[in-house]
């Protein structure tokens, strides 16, 4: 019969070990077990992107990965990116370009954008829009989000 499995990975630079039910999603583990509630759940179908985190540096949807699949990996959530006192350049860009309204999609949007910016110091708006296929915002109409990502990518390249 079904028991628990051991997982060990790094979250925001901190080593985490736990026993979880195999059916525990990574997002559930981050939110419920670690209290990292900045990663949001917006859908059941892997489409909205509110749950984006970095897994070994690449953006993934933490609602579509079992916690146990992340065993041995390094996870970065929005809380690990920057703090209100020391913001990450992409966070600053979202603030300066009014790239959010209700803020619910924002953590996933920013994590996705950080991944994108790693290889795109001077992105075009079209490239940003293509990349953001997997991140849905219901408030802003994307215009300011695209501007934010462009500015954030430039700032990250300079940092």
């Amino acid at each position: 019969m079904v028991g628990t499995v051991s997982v060990a990975f790094s979250v925001n630079g901190r080593d985490v070990k736990a026993k979880v039910e195999p059916r525990t999603l990574l997002v559930t583990f981050l939110r419920e077990n670690l209290g990292l509630t900045g990663t949001h759940v917006g859908c059941d179908t892997s489409q909205c992107g509110a749950c984006c985190v970095l897994l070994d540096g690449r953006s993934v949807k933490s609602c579509t990965i079992l916690a146990v699949q992340a065993d041995g990996a390094s996870v970065t959530t929005i809380e690990g990116l920057g703090t209100p006192e020391k913001l990450h350049p992409m966070q600053i860009a979202f603030n300066e370009n009014h790239g959010l309204q209700c803020g619910f999609c924002t953590p996933g949007m920013i994590m996705s954008a950080v991944d994108f910016a790693q290889g795109n110091a001077e992105p075009t708006p079209d490239q940003v829009r293509e990349w953001l296929e997997g991140n849905i915002c219901r408030c802003t109409g994307y215009h300011n989000i695209v501007a934010s990502v462009e500015a954030g990518a430039r700032a990250m390249a300079k940092a």
Binding site: E21, R23, R31, G35, L36, T37, G38, T39, H40, V41, G42, C43, D44, T45, C48, A50, T77, I78, E79, L81, G82, T83, P84, L87, Q91, F94, N95, E96, H98, L100, Q101, C102, G103, F104, C105, T106, P107, I110, I136, C137, R138, C139
Partner: protein
Amino acid sequence: MGLMSQPIRRTEDKRFITGRGRYVDDVKMEGAAIGYALRSPYAHARILSIDTEAAKTMPGVIGIIVGSELEAAGIGHLGAAFPASMLKNRDGTPRVDGDRALLTVDYVRYVGEPVAFVVAESQNAAKDAAEQILVDYEELPAVGLIDEAVAPGAPLVWPQAKGNIAVDWEQGDEAATETAFAKAAHITRIDLVNNRVVVNSMEARGAAGRFDKETGHYELFVTSQGAHPIADTIAKRILKIPQERLRVITPDVGGGFGLKMSTFAEYPLVLIASERFGMPVKWMSERTEAFQSDSHGRDLKSHAEMAFDAEGRILAYRVCTDFNLGAYGLGFGPGIQNIIPMFVVGGVYKVPVLHNYVRAVLTNTVPVEAYRGAGRPEAAYIIERIMDLAAREMGLGQDEIRLRNFIQSHEMPYRSYVGALIDSGDFQRNLHDCLKQADWAGFPARRAESEKRGKLRGRGMAYYIEKTAGGASAVDISFTEAGRVEVGVGTSAHGQGHETTFAAIVADKLGVPFESIDLIQGDSIRAPHGGGTGGSRCPCGTAGTAY
């Protein structure tokens, strides 16, 4: 220069961009159980029996609530926001809203209607148990579309609503409109469908509640557009308790769009479950569930006719609309396409006479309620589409037909046929400026360029005028010993940035630092009573009060 007249960065962004926002699903209540709603898989069925015995023995299950228990306990029902007197049939008879219990007892009337509420240690355990609840349904004929519902002999959603008409309503003068049409040089007719939409706020609905046995107080965290309307409904109508025994708190909210104005069954259910099972209870909707349990928007069919004289000037306007109310008249639902848009039906045009006839149609679908503009965008869509079509039929430009029919600035204040007082506006200049900015005249060249690339290019023009800012509400401003200024409001932001807006106004007026201001919102006890955020009223109504 004051803060009000310049762009400022939003105060709330700091927490949103760092993952420190606090939405309802982030609210941690020690020892909280998870609620899960078992929903109807049928559009219309009679419930013969509900057997929860096997489900109650499933691992991790704390308890299961069914509708008959709520009835026995005297728990109240959901309902419409409008009193019967405010909206009735045109012959004076009362409208039919149906009767919506939190958990249905004898019939289900749409797919997604809640039948039982399972409380368990985890959502997986609650879902596992819900699958073991045996509901014996006798499936009944159902109607989903407007045309099906109004067809002769259609199955009735509510027997007392003949022909499935919940309410019929009219404004204007039918006979005078007919007389004007008889003199028309040209009549334009159009049939329009404004399809149903699922609201889909990024943050689905959710609530977390606890009952304190010692004090008899209830506390509800809920994602909403205003804590007070929900507190009022739950205290007065559902739990039937004094208002002060219930505190409703709305933390950060991931989008509202009208959906989160209303009280939904799951909100009182978490409180009832908490009282009954002795622990806090949280319920979060999943996205798939949201499609079946959130109120929907739009869903109307209109036939409109416009009579013109030989110069393309409007003589009369006639609209017949059927809108799909779903299975129950809840919240603002029954009034969305009739009384809510009634002052904007003629748009920005001089319409000498009109007749607008609107029927709310009951169907076996999810109830339809307020959604983004709530009736007014729909009204604008109808008149703007017919103006465009008329322009084509009469060989006028889209701009020209509007110029010939605008209410003129020198006629302001202008009392429209439907009774709206339009006190200002220069629509001609507005059109002129807009055409210039959009390079309207340069369109043929742009279209030719697109065609060269194998693309089609089109353009549109539409006017929108809205009667809004209804319901100013109180603002409390208090000064703390710590030197901070607390601004309490009965509205609630869900993306609008009110922490910034209100702080800017108060800082300017009081001459205190912007950073010293805290907005107290979304709290039915700490903030002054208000109607919540909706209908674009906050900057005028509440912020106006603060000013």
